[in-house]
Symmetry: D2
């Protein structure tokens, strides 16, 4: 394990128990899993609620869904844990993409995955909302997975600056809530140098010929089916033809 | 001037005259301007068409508008130059944001500027289209300004790989047109490992409560007006009140 | 009761029992309720599933939600009835508006209710899909409520023409699936004279500055609360001020 | 000519000259054309501006575009007429559909024409704006074409009630600006009983999987081309195949 991860993970349980709010990023959860703090698997939320006695010390979800969906999932997990009279620390590491149109299998089934996700990227203001919501839900390990960039993590850290007693170092590079715009020559841009402007903004996509939501794919095929086996070699022309035919069939019968 | 810029600019005219396709990035144009290759100014397109005899050797636009709008502007400039019986090299360095709703003053007037532009970010496939369109228009200095990230420039370079005789080094990290997905376990993701899938994709924003287009601001105030003077100090509470009142007045009378 | 309603209702149970597919309209359900065929109430779906032994002979829902939501609700009711080993006829009379963004209280809480619902109006092709889905769900009394216009009901009747053995009289005025366009002078309009064109069309709103979905209102106030009492007189200026203040408070705390 | 049209047209010029604001509907313009008041033709706006001396007494446009586009066109015509030192009365009879995505040939080329236009239907509040804008532009014959329904015309008449000195008879059936909602049981619906609520509403489409704008068709084929000849008989299977192949070819080359 690389040294900085060790450093970060040193005493993670002690830090969370002491009431610290830890902000992580996507690679992190894999490290946590390797050290045995969390157990990966496709059915984490269900498992937690059904078998809370399994006894994880840190409970949470990672990847596949957007921040608000993930926070909601952790809330349900927390309810299950508490109903069983148990205690745990909670973590969340969502995507940095809006995915309200996902079905239960997450963003991989969205037609935009993985090379057309740009219009779904969260703004820093979306991140402020996410950090607040996660904190209010009792989550103290608040991180990010696919799509997160440094300024996203900075926004999370800025939202929780007073709770954590730390203004993140990157904040020196800009003014909070757009205050750097106070010096702009155009008065209507100066008028954006305030918190409620950015909190209320409903940002346009600039793509009037695109929809707001997509239909996730999924062919009624689940784990174990021959079509889902890992290939050793790349898809052949023959296979691609088969795949496209299946797709057409699924869409027609939908 | 920093050494690498000097290196890049060395013989820029010779390279363009020799038929090379040069791919640049946003900081570049400022460097070009400093060396006297291009002259900055708010009215470049109009100036070119009205005074083509001014004699710039490289003619183009930078920033403020999306790729397709900028290419269209350069086309108009080229027509003006050619109508005057002159010759020039052409360049374009647009935003990496879709801005079909801008008025003549560009993306600064959009309500999303500068901290809510995420849903407008171009995909790599949009960049392929832009590079092709710019090339077809006769532009040989093809670059990018605000919002461009390395993978955007890579997409431009990949689209023009055969014209330039160079596959960009960054291409080793992925397969062209999503071909890396050929190994994916889900067949419907494997079905995305092909060019026409990504060319035809209309990516959703994942934001059904946001609009597609915004109304640019602009208060009928233009250059020279007292309200547009550069401030030495940040906007005071008093000024902010004045600005918000003006805004309200403008919107009501609209 | 007006004579034509009597005529329509004559033997409704016999007709449904004989396997007839009856197509109704919105005023109809009120008449049915008055004759004691169905019992109105805010919790019909829940009641049916929880107390299927109540013994209604015709079970269904009316108004407040869009066709697909209503069909889904009736499916759930049918499951409840059948689980209890009972039998019933099923009916559905939805809105002619798309309302995927409604919460449990229906379209009244949508900000567009009742004078800005136009962009939500179903096309005739949406009606074909609704009629097919309702029929497949085992519903045999298939009607419409607020927003339905004659051409909507005609589309429902046309979709079920072979099942009912009747081509509705209004069909003489047009060709099925747009076939009347076969005579159009523009070839790209002639190309629309076919079923799959209209089945696959994703119609644009022409309103790029409007969102796709709204946030329904609802102030955490439910039946019985003083704020929900029926007024004898119109809202006074004083009350309106109170209402607007409540609204602001709810939105701020959201 | 049917008697009521005669009645309406009696003294139309006298009425307009006397300063009356006339509100018409779509069939009207055909009648006007038959009586020689206006001359139909595909290039009316251009003709008016290029040949204002042609001497029409009533100048305007009908159908094919949305209200705001039509008002803008009439404004340009008025400028042309006045520049030539002439005088005329002005009329406008637009669609009741939003069509910002039309090219120069109007709504026939939109993929939604003619059986999927529902999401584009104007609200009554859009009609208020249209009526005001037309009046401000100096237009005194203000009507409507395809898509107008009685409540649309009522909204036009209500907006201009004080200018015309007439409250339209249909207004008795409802309260102006939604005032009938003052009696509603839910306070958040009572809060909609006011003008600025409806003026500021941005109505959602309820169709998150549909785009806001479409790409109009048009195959580079114009008047006179063999493909645009009127057919005596319906499109044959053979012709349909030809048409669909042309369409595919046009889209691929776009």
């Amino acid at each position: 394990m690389c040294p900085w991860i060790s450093l970060l993970l040193q005493g993670i349980l002690e830090r969370l128990s002491a009431g610290e709010v830890v902000i992580g990023d996507g690679g992190f959860v894999f490290a946590l899993e390797k050290r045995g703090y969390v157990k990966a698997g496709p059915w984490t939320p269900e498992a937690t609620v059904t078998h809370p006695e399994a006894g994880a010390q840190i409970v949470g979800v990672n990847c596949h869904f957007d921040p608000m969906t993930c926070v909601k999932a952790v809330k349900m997990m927390k309810e299950g844990v508490e109903k069983a009279g148990l205690k745990a620390h909670y973590m969340v590491q969502p995507l940095a993409y809006h995915t309200p149109d996902c079905n239960c299998q997450g963003f991989i089934d969205l037609p935009e995955f993985p090379f057309g996700l740009e219009p779904r990227i969260l703004t820093r203001w979306d991140m402020h909302k996410y950090a607040r919501e996660a904190y209010k839900a009792g989550i103290r390990f608040i991180g990010g997975c696919c799509g997160f960039e440094p300024y996203h993590i900075r926004a999370v850290a800025e939202e929780l600056a007073s709770e954590r007693g730390i203004i993140p170092p990157g904040s020196e590079k800009h003014g909070m809530w757009g205050s750097g715009l106070e010096m702009h020559t155009k008065p209507w841009v100066r008028a954006r140098a305030r918190r409620d402007y950015w909190e209320q903004l409903m940002p346009a996509s600039g793509r009037p010929k695109c929809p707001s939501l997509s239909t996730p794919e999924g062919w009624g095929v689940t784990k174990g089916h021959a079509d889902l086996l890992q290939h050793k070699e790349a898809t052949s022309t023959q296979e691609m033809k088969h795949v496209l035919e299946m797709q057409k069939k699924v869409k027609t019968s939908a």
